[in-house]
Symmetry: C2
Subunit: 419 residues, 2 copies
């Protein structure tokens, strides 16, 4: 066990399993928020910027000081590997991302990386030697706010994107990903995807309100929702709001409003699916002109492909039944991800062994783990987000919540290591 005097996560079991140090983890969360810290207590640390370089350098130095081997691949993913007994085994990997949204929070992403660091500290401090190497990963550009797409590093790693194409992606200032990597010194030598993992477990804040609403301590993440995006173009007839009788109108906004409500209703009929119309553009958008044109952008999500099929079919049926000229276009999809049942079971067993209340959730947001699930057994652990807030300077998870998540992460790694 570790030195006395530190706050500990308090397992219900009486075994001699190593325990993470919640105070130490919290101190890291607080101190790393200085890299890109904002006046309002949030963080603006866009990928591959000077702020990102600072936090990466800090992370690499900390890991090196603990005896980790550092590898950086061509897309800038950082792999910090703490040695286990059997170097012939593929490492168990944990991690997440160090980048944030503009005016983002102190927890989204970095919690999973700092928890990995805390695992290594705990293993070293308790002289615990795993069979597998333990690799803590920082994936490049999870957020996608400077360079698109999001989850860029894990996407190239898992083969969802080609490095050559991603290297050429430009930010708004015309800087390419490759140039940005070279500028901050994280254009590594390791070919992307060369490292293989025995398993990957990612701790992350929930970024939603479910755990808090259920007063649950740990979210057992069983997968990631699939997504389908639709564009809608409605062509009505622009007309004088005073002199055009109701019976002779062809009001594009009335049709659009029917679609907005249909999207909501379809989601309610296909729970746990969600449906959102987030974007509306009205032409000419003048109080006393009957709208002649409306564009909508729709986002539908569901844990299963069948659910998405049903939601799309319902949308197509309702749009077809509306008496207006409507073009509905399915512009983009992401298939649902179902995490590995054995790793999900290990997370559940670990949380239960520590005496924490749990809820199974399907992530509504995308995560690096969704890419990695395609190449190795993967699962995720969620901790509550206060008021469900994320991508927001007010983002908050308490020291206890973070410590519980890291504790579950450690126990999960220990369980996987035994197999």
């Amino acid at each position: 066990m570790t030195a006395a005097g530190h706050a500990r996560s308090t397992p219900a079991t009486g075994t001699n399993m190593p325990e993470i140090d919640g105070d130490r983890l919290w101190a890291d969360i607080v101190s790393t928020a200085r890299f890109g810290g904002t006046d309002k207590g949030g963080v603006t640390r866009l990928t591959l910027t000077e702020e990102d370089r600072q936090v990466r350098d800090w992370f690499v130095a900390e890991c090196r000081s603990l005896g980790c081997m550092i590898e950086v691949d061509r897309i800038g993913n950082i792999f910090a590997t703490y040695p286990g007994e059997d170097p012939s085994l593929s490492p168990i990997a944990v991690g997440s991302h160090l980048d944030t949204q503009p005016q983002g929070g102190r927890f989204d992403g970095i919690l999973g990386v700092l928890a990995g660091l805390e695992l290594i500290r705990t293993l070293k401090e308790t002289a615990t030697v795993l069979r597998h190497n333990l690799t803590v990963v920082n994936w490049t550009n999870e957020e996608g706010s400077r360079f698109s797409p999001a989850m860029m590093g894990s996407g190239v790693f898992a083969g969802a994107s080609r490095l050559e194409a991603i290297d050429a992606v430009l930010d708004q200032d015309g800087t390419s990903v490759q140039t940005a990597l070279e500028t901050i010194g994280y254009r590594g030598e390791t070919p992307v995807g060369q490292v293989g993992f025995a398993a990957y477990v990612e701790l992350h804040i929930e970024q939603g309100p479910l755990l808090e609403a259920a007063a649950t301590q740990i979210g057992i993440v069983t997968g990631v929702q699939g997504v389908r995006w639709f564009d809608v173009a409605i062509t009505g007839t622009e007309a004088h709001a005073g002199s055009t009788p109701m019976a002779q109108r062809n009001d594009a906004l009335v049709a659009a409003s029917q679609i907005v409500l249909a999207v909501r209703d379809i989601a309610h009929r296909h729970l746990p699916g969600v449906g959102t119309t987030g974007f509306v553009a009205v032409g000419p958008n003048s109080r006393n002109v009957v709208p002649g044109a409306v564009q909508l952008q729709i986002d539908m999500r569901h844990p299963s492909e069948e659910g998405l099929d049903l939601m799309q079919a319902a949308l197509e049926q309702i749009v077809g039944a509306i008496d207006a000229k409507i073009a509905l276009t399915h512009i983009w999809s992401k298939q649902p991800v179902v995490f590995d049942p054995a790793i999900v079971d290990a997370v559940r067993a670990s949380a239960e062994a520590l005496g924490y209340s749990t809820t199974e959730v399907v992530s509504g947001a995308g995560h690096d783990a969704a890419h990695i699930a395609g190449i190795c057994p993967t699962a995720m652990i969620f901790v509550p987000s206060k008021d469900g807030l994320s991508h927001n300077e007010a983002e908050y998870s308490s020291p206890e919540e973070c410590a519980r998540g890291a504790g579950v992460l450690l126990q999960t790694v220990l369980q996987i290591d035994l197999k």
Copy 2:
């Protein structure tokens, strides 16, 4: 009667009443479209511009050549008066406006002025002497697209606005109404409102689809709809479109869509009222963010104040019943106008005497006549607008339709003159 060889409106009655010359009227419509004419056959003749000066100068010269006395008041309204027998009587007035919208049409406004000119030509040619003077009026800035408010000249004339306030109104380039009047030489000497009328009759295109749909030749305009404008601000909760379950959403756009449909439904329950949501602004307006804020702008119209009261009450009730934080603000009103029954009867009798099919309509658009109705007996005559189009280069009424309208205007003036 007039010289042979001209096309004539063809009254069904066999009396010896003077008749307007439809070909001559049409030739004026075609030729005046050169003042601000566009490549697509429309007109851009914003008020108090060089193009407006050109058409005004042409109109004044034509009226002078017919023996009219010209007066221009301080707001630039032009009064061309053709003498009758009894100068002690207040003149009968007809007219409309010579200005247009940007990329407007060849008929909106100018038809009523040119028809007045055609009346004077007909009276002169047939040596018809009325008891009353006949005044043809061009009202300044009916359209309101360069200077706000619309119906500016008639508004000052009728006492709805103060000249001093209107003089100071600026266009987008910072030019005041007063400066614009002086620049084109139409800052007249006559105090505004000094001229009194025995009656005012305005011929105008319908700018709506009712007459065409009813295959009716003449619209007997019994009044002008009242208008109420409402602003709506809906405050929801901005949230992640993936991770926020449907049951925990507070989607401002869903509430807004319910209001859009309610505005439509309320109008249908209070016909001939109309209701329009013409403007929508969504925040943050991003596909994958549940909308946290929506602003709507609503326009409701009805021929009666009671109808407007019922529509507003229904809107307030529905907004109050929607489970969201909604601020509904009544920002502006215009009371309904009911035209003078005797003048309306004179229009009806004239149209029937000429054998034209008629429909009673309440104008959905505002007109100078709505102001003038407050100070003297007033009515309007509508002729059909092809496809209901107006404020549009494709605006069209046929030569026959224009001639019928001018014919009814002449007979109406003759009837009023007899009383």
